[in-house]
C-alpha cells in the first residue's frame, strides 16, 4: 500500500494547498487595505456573472489550457519547460505568417493551416533546447529561459523591421484578412438559440483546446508513446533498459510540449487580436506552470486549473477596472499557487502522510 490513498494525493493535497494560497491572498488584500469579500464578490460577478464575463474567462482559460498542457506533457517526461512563453511567441509568428501570406478562402481552412503553423513554430522553438538536453546534457530549464529572451528579441525584430506595415507606429502586423477571422462563441452559439455576448473574445479555439485535452489524455495514458514518455520520466536508466531512446523521448516530448504552447497563439492572435502584436503571450507561458502543477499534470486537472486561472484573470481585470486594486494582485495569487502546490508541496503532504499512516496503524 502507498502511504496515502490516491484520492488524497490527487485531490486533497492540491485542495489544501489551494486553500492556503487563498488564505494568504486574502491577507494580502487586507494588507493593502481592501476588503477581500468585496473583492471576491466583484471578481465572481465580473468573471462569471454574465456571458460577457464568461467569454473573457473562457478566453483566458483557453490560453492556459494550451500552456498548461505544454508544461504537463514535459513534466511527464520529467522535464521542466519554462519556455512556454517563447514557444507561444513563435507560435504567434507561425499563425501570422500563415494568415498573412497564404490565400485562405475560409476560416476553417485557415484554422487548420494556422494550427499547423502555430504548432510547428512552437515545436521548432522547443526543439533546440530539447536536442541540447538530449545530446549535450544542457539543462533544459536554463536553455528554455534563455530561449524565451531570444524569442522576444526575434519577435521584436520581425515585427519592427519586417512585418510592420508601412507607416504604422506600433510594432504589430497588419490585420489578418477577414476570411481568416475565427467565429466567436457568440457566432457559434447564436444558431442554437443561445445569446452569448458579442463583445467577449472567446472563440472556436476553445474547442481546439478541449480537443487538445482529450488528445493529451489519450497520448499519455493510452498510447505507446505516452507509456514511453511516462516511463522515461520515472526512470531514465529503466527506459534505456527497455530500449526507449532517451534522446528520442526528450525531443519528442519537448516537440509536443512546444507545439501545444505554440497553439496558444491561435486564441490570442487569430481569435482575438486578428493581428500579431508584440506581447500577445502576456505571461501565459508562465501561468502554464501553475496550471500544470495544480492540475497534477493530468489533462482534466489542467482544464479545471485553467478555468480557475481564467477566472482569476478576468476577475483581476475587473478589479483593476472598478477598484484601486492593481492587476498585480493576480500575479501574487499566481505566485502563491505555484509556491504552495509546487514548491511547498511537502509542507502539506508530509503531515497528511503522517495522519494517514497513524490512522492506518490504528485500524490495522
Amino acid at each position: 500500500m502507498d502511504r496515502m490513498p490516491p484520492w488524497a494525493d490527487a485531490l486533497l493535497v492540491p485542495l489544501i494547498s489551494l486553500v492556503l494560497a487563498a488564505i494568504l491572498s486574502a491577507l494580502v488584500i487586507i494588507g493593502i487595505g481592501e476588503d477581500p469579500v468585496a473583492a471576491v464578490t466583484l471578481m465572481v460577478k465580473g468573471a462569471l456573472g454574465s456571458t460577457y464575463g464568461w467569454g473573457y474567462t473562457l478566453y483566458y482559460a483557453t490560453n492556459f489550457i494550451f500552456t498548461g498542457l505544454a508544461v504537463a506533457v514535459a513534466f511527464h517526461a520529467r522535464m521542466f519547460n519554462i519556455g512556454g512563453e517563447g514557444q507561444a511567441m513563435l507560435g504567434g509568428l507561425g499563425v501570422a505568417l500563415v494568415c498573412l501570406y497564404l490565400p485562405l478562402p475560409h476560416w476553417t481552412l485557415a484554422l487548420v493551416a494556422a494550427t499547423l503553423g502555430a504548432a510547428i513554430f512552437g515545436a521548432a522553438w522547443a526543439c533546440v533546447p530539447a536536442v541540447l538536453q538530449a545530446r549535450r546534457g544542457s539543462h533544459i530549464v536554463i536553455t528554455t529561459i534563455m530561449f524565451n529572451f531570444i524569442a522576444a528579441a526575434l519577435l521584436n525584430y520581425m515585427l519592427v523591421n519586417l512585418l510592420r506595415p508601412k507607416g504604422a507606429m506600433d510594432p504589430a502586423t497588419a490585420k489578418f484578412p477577414a476570411a481568416t477571422n475565427l467565429p466567436t462563441l457568440h457566432d457559434m452559439l447564436t444558431p442554437i438559440g443561445l445569446n452569448f455576448s458579442k463583445a467577449a473574445p472567446a472563440n472556436v479555439t476553445l474547442v481546439i483546446a478541449l480537443l487538445a485535452c482529450l488528445a493529451v489524455w489519450l497520448l499519455i495514458w493510452r498510447t505507446r508513446l505516452g507509456y514511453e514518455i511516462r516511463a522515461f520520466g520515472h526512470s531514465e536508466t529503466a527506459a534505456r533498459y527497455a530500449g526507449i531512446s532517451p534522446t528520442r523521448i526528450t525531443v519528442v516530448a519537448m516537440l509536443i510540449s512546444g507545439g501545444l504552447a505554440g497553439l496558444m497563439a491561435l486564441n490570442t492572435t487569430m481569435g482575438e487580436a486578428e493581428r500579431l502584436v508584440l506581447n500577445s503571450v502576456e505571461g501565459a507561458g508562465f501561468i502554464g506552470i501553475a496550471v500544470a502543477l495544480m492540475g497534477r499534470s493530468h489533462p482534466l486537472g489542467v482544464l479545471m486549473a485553467a478555468v480557475l486561472f481564467g477566472f482569476l484573470y478576468q476577475g483581476g481585470a475587473e478589479l483593476a477596472l472598478w477598484t484601486n486594486i492593481p492587476r498585480e494582485l493576480i500575479v501574487v495569487i499566481q505566485a502563491l499557487v505555484i509556491l504552495f502546490t509546487g514548491a511547498l508541496d511537502n509542507m502539506v503532504r508530509m503531515p497528511l502522510e503522517r495522519l494517514f499512516l497513524s490512522r492506518r496503524r490504528k485500524e490495522g
Partner: protein, 549 residues
C-alpha cells in the same frame, strides 16, 4: 585499562514508515575486538550502525559508549564519542583532494591553510603507523576504490576514532585488496581500537572477527564467539532454517553456439576502457556463469548485450551479426532478436516503480503487436495476461493493479523474471538474479532458469556470489579489469582458483583446475601475489589508455 565494553546498545528500535527496520536490538562489543554483523539484505544492519553513528535517530533504546550512557543525536556527537564509520557507499567529495576530504568537518580553525598543514603531517604519521598509504594531494575521482576506502578510514582515524564501523567494506574490493584491508584492521585492533564489521561473506567473518551477531528481519537473532561457530550455523541463523546450498540439476546438453562474442571493447563516457577485447560464446542448453568482483566489466558486458551501451567488436546471435553502435543497437532490437534480459538492478532498470504490475509486465515489450489495439494500447488485454503470469510465477500478492514499488524485493524480482522468461528468449541475460531475495524465492528463480536451459535456451548468468555461480552454471568465465582471465567447466573450478582469477592472477592454484584455459593477461606469480605491483601496472595501463583517447 577499563573493562567496560566499548559499545553497548540496549533495546534499539527504528521504523521507516510501515517498515520496522530494527526491533528491540541489544548488542555488546568488547574493547579491542573485531565484531562482525551478518544478515540478509534489508535485515537492518546498516540502519543499526547508522543509528550508532547518529545518522538516524532511534525510536527507542539507549547507547552506552565505554560504559557511559551517550546521546547521539547527530554525527557530530558520534565523532565526539570516538566513533568513526566507513559507509557502504563512500561519502567523499569527488573533486576534492584526499587532504581536503580528511579535514572536512575537522578543521582546526576558520582558515583553511593551517588545517591542511596539520592534516598533512598527521596523515604522514598515520600512514607509517598503519600502512595506510595515499597521496594526500590526489583528487578522489582519480584514485581507485581501494584507495578511496583508505581515505575513509583515514578520515575516521584523523578524528581520533576509537571505534571504527565498516559497512560491507569488501564488496567492491578484489580479494587481494580485501586481504590488505584485513591486515590494516588487524593492526588497528592491536592498537586497542574496536571494530565493527558488517559483511555478507561468511569467510571473512570466520577469518577476522572475534565475535559475531546475526540479524534477521530487523531482529538480533544471536551473538556468538566466532571460534565457537561454523559457517553453516551462521547461515542457518541468518535465514531461519536449514539452507540447501546446492541446486538440483541434470548435466547440461550443450548444443550449437547461440551467442558468439569476438573482441568486444567498450570505452565509457569518461574515456576509461571498461571492456578490453572480450571473446566468449554461449551455447544452446547451457548456463555460462560470469564471475568477478563487481566493477570489472561484467555489468558493461550485460549492458552491451542488452542494448543499453554501444561497443566495438563483433557479436553474432544464431550466426547473424548484431548491431553494436548503429540504429539497431537498442534494447528493442535486442528483444526482437530473441534476447531476454533480467537486469542487475531491478528497481533502477527492470521496473518502473510507480507503474502497476500489469504495466510493468510488458515493459520493453510494449511494442509487441499483441498489445496494440489500433493506435492505442490494449490495456485490458495486458492486464489479463499479467494476471495469468503472476499466478503462474507465484507473485504475491497476485494483484496486477498494485504498483511495483508496493511489492517486496523478492516479488519484484519475480515480476521481472516472469516477464523475461515468458517471452521464451533464445538467450537470457540474467544479472544478480537473487540479490536481496529470500531463500524461497531464490530456489524458485533458480528452478525457472534451469527449466529454461533444459528447453535448449542459452543463458548468460552474471553474479558476484561465487556460490550462486558454482551451483547454477555449467561453464564459468572469470572477468577482471575488462578482460576474461580464464574459462572452463564449473565442475572443476575451485573457490581458491576462481578467487585468484578474480584478482587477475593466474598462479599455481588456477593450474589445478582441469579443462580451464587461462588467459595470457593473467599475471603469473609464484607464492603470495604482490597486490601493490599489480595496482601500479593497472594504473599504468589506464594511463596509456586515456592517452590514446
Amino acid at each position: 585499562m577499563t573493562t567496560a565494553p566499548a559499545i553497548e546498545l540496549r533495546g534499539i528500535s527504528k521504523a521507516f514508515g510501515p517498515v520496522q527496520a530494527n526491533k528491540d536490538i541489544s548488542i555488546l562489543v568488547e574493547r579491542g575486538t573485531i565484531h562482525g554483523i551478518i544478515g540478509e539484505n534489508g535485515a537492518g544492519k546498516s540502519t543499526l550502525m547508522s543509528i550508532l553513528y547518529g545518522f538516524y535517530k532511534a525510536d527507542a533504546g539507549e547507547i552506552f559508549i565505554g560504559g557511559q550512557k551517550t546521546e547521539i543525536p547527530d554525527s557530530q556527537a558520534a565523532i565526539a564519542a570516538g566513533i568513526g564509520m566507513v559507509f557502504q557507499h563512500f561519502k567523499l567529495v569527488e573533486n576534492f583532494t584526499v587532504l581536503e576530504n580528511v579535514v572536512l568537518g575537522a578543521e582546526d580553525g576558520r582558515l583553511l591553510r593551517p588545517s591542511l598543514a596539520t592534516a598533512r603531517a598527521e596523515l604522514k604519521a598515520l600512514a607509517s603507523d598503519y600502512g595506510l598509504n595515499v597521496d594526500p594531494d590526489a583528487v578522489i575521482a582519480d584514485i581507485g576504490v581501494g584507495q578511496q576506502q583508505r581515505v575513509e578510514i583515514l578520515k575516521a582515524l584523523y578524528r581520533q576514532a576509537d571505534i571504527l564501523i565498516l559497512d560491507e567494506p569488501t564488496g567492491v574490493l578484489t580479494p587481494a585488496e580485501a586481504d590488505q584491508l584485513f591486515r590494516i584492521l588487524g593492526r588497528l585492533k592491536a592498537e586497542g581500537k574496536t571494530i565493527v564489521l558488517i559483511t555478507h561473506k561468511l569467510r571473512e567473518i570466520m577469518e577476522i572477527t572475534d565475535t559475531v551477531s546475526v540479524m534477521r528481519r530487523g531482529e538480533m537473532t544471536a551473538t556468538v564467539r566466532t571460534a565457537e561457530t561454523s559457517p553453516t550455523e551462521l547461515a542457518e541463523l541468518m535465514v531461519g532454517r536449514k539452507v540447501l546450498l546446492r541446486v538440483d540439476k541434470t548435466p547440461a546438453q550443450p548444443g550449437a553456439p547461440i551467442l558468439e562474442i569476438e573482441n568486444l571493447s567498450v570505452t565509457d563516457s569518461a574515456g576509461v576502457q571498461r571492456l578490453r577485447g572480450v571473446s566468449l560464446n554461449v551455447r544452446a542448453g547451457e548456463i555460462l556463469g560470469l564471475a568477478g568482483v563487481a566493477g570489472n566489466g561484467q555489468s558493461e558486458l550485460l549492458e552491451v548485450l542488452g542494448g543499453m551501451r554501444t561497443a566495438t567488436g563483433r557479436i553474432t546471435m544464431n550466426g547473424q551479426p548484431i548491431d553494436l553502435g548503429g540504429r539497431h543497437s537498442d534494447g528493442q532490437s535486442r528483444r526482437a532478436r530473441g534476447i531476454g534480459h533480467v537486469p542487475e538492478d531491478r528497481q533502477r532498470e527492470g521496473l518502473i516503480m510507480p507503474y502497476s504490475a500489469w504495466e510493468n509486465s510488458v515493459f520493453g515489450y510494449h511494442h509487441d503487436p499483441r498489445w496494440q489495439n489500433g493506435p492505442l494500447m490494449d490495456n485490458a488485454g495486458i492486464e489479463a495476461a499479467a494476471q495469468d503470469q503472476m499466478d503462474r510465477f507465484d507473485v504475491r500478492p497476485p494483484n496486477p493493479r498494485l504498483a511495483a514499488r508496493n511489492f517486496s524485493g523478492g516479488n519484484q524480482q519475480k515480476i521481472v523474471v516472469a516477464r523475461e522468461i515468458d517471452r521464451n528468449p533464445d538467450l537470457l541475460l540474467i544479472g544478480q538474479p537473487t540479490r536481496g531475495v529470500d531463500i524461497g524465492a531464490i530456489e524458485f528463480i533458480h528452478k525457472q532458469i534451469i527449466a529454461l536451459r533444459d528447453q535448449g535456451k542459452a543463458i548468460l548468468l552474471v553474479s558476484v556470489e561465487l556460490d550462486e555461480i558454482l551451483s547454477l552454471a555449467d561453464r564459468v568465465a572469470v572477468m577482471f579489469d575488462g578482460q576474461i582471465m580464464g574459462e572452463g567447466p564449473a565442475g572443476s573450478a575451485t573457490q581458491v582458483g576462481l578467487g585468484c582469477l578474480m584478482a587477475g592472477l593466474g598462479g599455481d592454484d588456477t593450474r589445478d583446475m582441469s579443462g580451464w584455459t587461462i588467459s595470457d593477461a593473467a599475471i603469473i606469480e609464484e607464492g603470495t601475489p604482490d597486490v601493490s605491483r599489480i595496482e601500479a601496472q593497472l594504473a599504468e595501463k589506464h594511463a596509456d589508455a586515456s592517452k590514446e583517447v
